[in-house]
Symmetry: C2
Subunit: 246 residues, 2 copies
Amino acid sequence: MKSGKKSTATKTAKGEQTKALILNTALEMLHERGYQNTTMRAIADKAGVSLGNAYHYFGSKDHLIQSFYHSTHENHLQASLPVLRRESSLKARLLSVMRLKIDTLEPYHEFAGVLFQTAADPHSPLNPFAHAAEPVRRDSIKLFEDLVADSKARIPDDLRAELPYLLWLYHMGIILFWIHDTSRKRARTFRLIDQTVDLLDKLISLASNPLMRPVRKKALALVAELRDDLTPSSSDDDNEAESEAQ
Amino acid sequence: MKSGKKSTATKTAKGEQTKALILNTALEMLHERGYQNTTMRAIADKAGVSLGNAYHYFGSKDHLIQSFYHSTHENHLQASLPVLRRESSLKARLLSVMRLKIDTLEPYHEFAGVLFQTAADPHSPLNPFAHAAEPVRRDSIKLFEDLVADSKARIPDDLRAELPYLLWLYHMGIILFWIHDTSRKRARTFRLIDQTVDLLDKLISLASNPLMRPVRKKALALVAELRDDLTPSSSDDDNEAESEAQ
DNA sequence: CCCAGTTTTTGAACTCGTTCAAAAAACTTC
DNA sequence: GAAGTTTTTTGAACGAGTTCAAAAACTGGG
């Protein structure tokens, strides 16, 4: 279930082509048959390459899945841009962006659970806190930076600086809820979004109150420290994934 | 990786004995060799039974692992009781209980990541929100109920009612951090506990302020709803784990 | 004590992720 | 265009979780 090597870079046009073929086949199968039935063998078969060849380009099934992150984020981003251009209040922006996120992920609800399952392992390249996912995570947080940046709202600088990260965490929490949500049309998730966005908006106002400054400072210092701990900025992960294996 | 059937009930004294033997062997090996190296085959070998026999009593490796929850919770509870008897302030109680939790889990840090990995899957019997884990979760929350109940602190009833659940969630978050914590002696986790407990204490005071009543009410109503959604109270889980398989 | 029914136990098989040595194809350099 | 090197591709194997039919052990009633 774990991986040793990362996706091998292609050195040839032919290689590039094969890699893309495998990737597309995989994404297609994931969408059509879910995670369990999308075996590496099935992907290789359908793509018309050998099993070993798939592993040549993608060091593990996890690596193959990682492209899913990128793909859905890209979709979400494209869907969000018009909203960010149109809306100006933080609350309206956040509400729309969150709803669009769920819309984007909906086709993959079936296997999202498994995705987040492997994502919870600190050694997994899919872990959103780990190095391997850094580019995607960075992109993902960037969206919330944009969301906060252009919004007209009186927010203290210290809070404004951490807010994108906090909102990103919040959005991860919503996704976690969504995974467990079996209600029709994810009504509960959307309701949760409505409620929490309203609450967050109120809380941000509250936290912006000068009287709250000491508590806010303390809380933000903690958040900043946590963020640094959880998301180290360089090198040595992913290559030594096997601390206890073998 | 997933399971179909649950642990089979034993019908005989002999069966009971065999089941216990397998379980103890498994726990021992988990402690000594970590998760990866504790294969079902290795357990069966060491216990002197056949592989199929192990599967007769434990429908899957996950089921076998579930006993881990119970075991460590029991240890944590025993370690916490004296503290709850001794300390009276909410802050001191929470601080001690959280530190003891980490102490209790420490021997299993190596494989805790994998544990929480499978736990994140909504279909996994290890998922702390799922039915299968209900007894253990209930016990676990009960500890926080005791923690809150006897503490001398002026807390509004509505908040007091939800606080145990909120603290349980908080404690899950700390564990998640701890899993990712690679600092020496988990210094960062302990530091995080110190800081967050302090912060929580302040926040509880703040939230208890009459001025906060409207926001508090709204937030607590949300929490109550979430709790009900995430932790349904009966029936139909665990038996239909394979929504997409085959 | 024997027999039918249950429960326990076995062992072989299957699937799937992963690895690896070696063959095939592509590319470089002279 | 031939020799050598690198990249791509293959196919067979291994390890681990899981399943299952059937053998073995056990049980209670006649």
